[in-house]
Symmetry: C2
């Protein structure tokens, strides 16, 4: 059994989900991979919150350097969210030679070059499956399993909040404001839903996808972006009359001049595989020059699906460690 | 650039597709992976057939040992199809320390233990992404990217011929025999369609899936299997009246006593993600205890989609070679 010590940055919802899934599936992971993954240190201010599991108080630290400078720590998992201090912490960890796993789309979309170059410079690994599509293993599928393809087109439903709202508007004939309030009550939408409903969250994810699919770096601010807050019942009915649904799509296409991309509400014919992606589900539809049309569908958010991606990345790194 | 020499067993439709995709995407693969993959030797009787590309006659051999004993060959790709001589060749290659990539579901389903044990014994790798689901990267997704999950359920549409026939019957109200003849004319069904329409092809694939998803070995003959040849227009209409479609499903579930599995035509509610998998497309729907519901959808057959999977496996192995 190979013992791998993890330094975890952040024990909020996603961090706690990761901790729980690791304990839940510990025996399975040990049996199938031969890896004994241990969360050895945790950077977290709130050491007393009730999380549904016990963490020894000696694991908590308020000093990120205590993690990055510890020679026993093999992998750093960053689940703080937000651009800073997450980016600075990841850069420090990579510089110290620690491989990093992150679920942080905002930090990656903002600082993709700095982070990937820091990894290259130190020879450490940077993996970020959970940053786009939550539990859907699309980063690994594109960069590893499908790497014999050149891709010509990507279309994604990459935000569960807006897809939930559009689904309810279409299937129940309800108005945007009413469904948004319901989504907030159910916890599918934030109290301030701007980042979701105006498409900024999707633009962050599309920025990351364009880097890995096309090798093209476009900052989120450079992606023409329109959200769903202006979509009316009438828009939905007009789409329906043409045999279509409206989905908030992240789109990118190879053109003669490079790559075109945008985030906007889009008519999709009901026969398109993405048209059937309902409620909070996410999906990525890609076209490769060998594999042809491919779709990956699943839960794009939530502590357990996100933990699936985070731990998959940690295990992939752990397998390569001596 | 790391040079990797490949010994290819079989230059039929799939072998030729693999050769073509490698040449088509050579620059992309070199740029993104740093690998220079070369098909150095080819086991194939037919050296003169017009394949749409030129192969130096010195590459052909009729002697498999000339490949397995060649110290310059790094990876063997087996695309002969059928149980024998493919199994014997793969065992000989693994014994000689060559890692093996195969698309051969029949050989794997029949000889899974012998092949995986031969790989273990010699320390060589055995990868078989293309054997289930063609271009859909489901083997790698399950065994690598999603390996932090325990799975409780798999449902698959894993045969394009039968899904094409069922789709046309449902959408165009036509009879089984008529659509089968059309599928044969279009090349979607074999002259002898038994293995497809009676579910044996799907049973082979489900046998392989159960090994990787549940670690449970069930031989294809041990899977209760019923095909679609008895499905009538009336059956389809009755399903429709209940808001369902009929799909030929490969199903496996964890139960208190172990794992239950079968291949049979199954009612699927139209809201189920698999209900929208039309024509020759394949899809796998799985439920993990962290990731929850996940579906992978794409082309389950054809030279180019299969080549995508075969070359993805070859690249994964090549990255680990010194």
């Amino acid at each position: 059994m190979k013992r791998i010590n993890i330094g975890l940055l952040g024990l909020g919802n996603i961090g706690s989900g990761t901790y729980k899934v690791l304990e839940l599936n510990r025996k399975h992971i040990e049996a199938t991979t031969g890896l004994d993954l241990r969360i050895a240190k945790i950077l977290e201010l709130d050491t007393t919150r009730e999380r549904g599991f016990a963490v020894g108080p000696e694991k908590f630290t308020q000093d990120p350097e205590a993690i990055f400078a510890d020679p026993d720590i093999d992998i750093v998992i960053e689940l703080l969210g937000g651009v800073e201090p997450a980016t600075s912490h990841m850069l420090a960890a990579l510089k110290a030679g620690k491989s990093v796993v992150t679920a942080n789309k905002a930090a990656l979309a903002e600082n993709y070059e700095a982070l990937t170059e820091a990894a290259k410079a130190s020879g450490a690994q940077l993996r970020f499956e959970a940053s786009v599509g939550g539990g859907i293993p699309l980063v690994g599928a594109i960069t590893e399993l499908l790497c014999a393809n050149e891709f010509t087109e990507i279309l994604g439903i990459l935000n569960g909040t807006t897809n939930y709202i559009l689904t309810k508007m279409a299937e129940e004939g309800r108005a945007y404001e009413e469904v948004l309030k319901e989504a907030q009550a159910l916890g599918f939408a934030e109290a301030d839903p701007t980042a979701d409903v105006e498409g900024h969250d999707v633009a962050n994810k599309l920025s990351i996808l364009m880097s890995i699919v096309f090798g093209t770096r476009v900052r989120p601010e450079g992606i023409p972006t329109r959200g769903i807050s202006q979509i009316t019942k009438k828009d939905i009915e007009e789409a329906e009359a043409e045999g279509c649904v409206i989905k908030l799509l992240a789109s990118a296409f190879k053109t003669a001049d490079g790559v075109e991309c945008f985030v906007q509400p889009t008519y999709l014919n009901k026969t398109h595989p993405l048209a059937d992606v309902r409620n909070e589900f996410n999906a990525l539809f890609i076209k490769g020059n060998a594999v042809d049309d491919l779709m990956l569908y699943g839960k794009g958010a939530g502590p357990f699906p996100t933990a699936s991606a985070v731990l998959g990345d940690a295990i992939a790194i752990a397998k390569t460690l001596p």
